[in-house]
Symmetry: C2
Subunit: 234 residues, 2 copies
């Protein structure tokens, strides 16, 4: 890619999804301009024009061409800057298929269960969702053992696709732990995943882009308080 | 890939998702053994062992290694038999990102709206979902014009990733048209997509793997009758 590449990233600071392209861009040493969106106020013209279908962050704009959906952006970054930095997707097709399978599991099954647990009003509903989340972590523990093959990351020696996907949610888990004392990263149940989480969060690339956990906890607490006061008024 | 490759596909004849790897395997001239599952009876040991997380078809088993999730399988086939037949994903990263974006839109937004319209009991709910489906088709019409660049397929001169993704649902649309007179492929609203649908369904590769529309309509009719009799008993 030439020196004149113009790379813009639209995100919000607390979004796990927006962390993903930030990690990928840093792994590939790509310089970019970051634009913080205000999803509670009004979305920028650039966001509405770049992602007219979903109107969501993150969006990567590379030489005026937008790419949306966080994991789609990560694959795009890996393919576009393929000769710079480590490969994000594994090189063998079967390992690539496993990385894509498990990242779809995280985004379409596991995290939606965590979100349902956080937002449902029903105590029974919350319990069922939390059981799904914990069962999911057991599956992910097994997946980690299978994919990492004794190495520190899902991607082996370096951070890869599935590390970025699941790792982006670690901030939410840590913030919820702080806010509610909810200890999902439990060493007796999922020891390998706990070791991985420590390794991931202390990685230099990750530390540079991940938001402060105290700030995220405070933000989630405010969001919850707002939701409760809205529901008590209705 | 060597001559000794052993390729198995687990599917059900009426599933749009199972059509996808069949088209991809045929485009790449890969010989495979097909195993029909009985999702209403008991699932095979092979399916339960190969896709223990979702227990769903399709599953591709290549030299004893399973790959699940239909579009993940299609990418795997494209990457594994990369020197045989046409490329399924476009070659340029931005076009690949567009193909992945729109296929995620079809699977996560558009088709779920169609399924909601088909299964909801509420007349208002059905109306809202059908409006989403029709709006989605307008977006897909625009996407087709942008991606195909005046050529017959989303993938250009040959069938590509997004053709396989959306094309696999054409049988459902045609069967519903026959069953309910629901004409979603309306030439005055989405002329390009209607031309594409004709082109796709008359392609030799596709014709060889797509189930008979009369049979699918009959099957959907039976499913609906069963669901109605079950709900009238409860």
């Amino acid at each position: 890619m030439g020196e004149r590449d113009q790379v813009k990233l639209l995100g919000v600071w607390y979004s796990p999804y927006a962390i993903r392209p930030k990690i990928a861009l840093r792994l590939k040493s790509v310089y970019y301009d970051y634009f913080e969106e205000d999803l509670f106020g009004s979305k920028s013209e650039l966001l509405l024009k770049s992602n007219p279908i979903h109107k969501k962050v993150p969006v990567l704009i590379h030489n005026n061409k937008p790419v949306s959906e966080s994991l789609n952006i990560v694959e795009y970054i890996d393919e576009t800057w393929n000769s710079s930095g480590p490969s994000i997707l594994p090189s063998h097709p079967h390992n690539r298929a496993l990385a894509r399978f498990w990242s779809a599991y995280v985004d379409n099954k596991w995290f939606p269960a965590l979100r349902a647990a956080a937002t449902t009003k029903s105590e029974d509903g919350k319990k069922i969702s939390m059981e799904e989340v914990e069962e999911g972590l057991l599956h992910l523990e097994e997946a980690f053992i299978a994919l990492s093959q004794g190495k520190p990351f899902f991607g082996g020696e370096t951070i890869g696709f599935m590390d970025i996907c699941l790792g982006s949610f670690l901030v939410v888990l840590k913030a919820r732990e702080q806010l509610k004392g909810e200890k999902l990263l439990n060493e007796s149940n999922i020891p390998s995943l706990c070791r991985w989480a420590k390794e991931f969060l202390s990685d230099e690339t990750v530390k540079n882009v991940v938001p402060d956990i105290d700030k995220v906890a405070e933000f989630l607490g405010e969001l919850e308080a707002k939701a409760e006061s809205a529901s008590s008024r209705s």
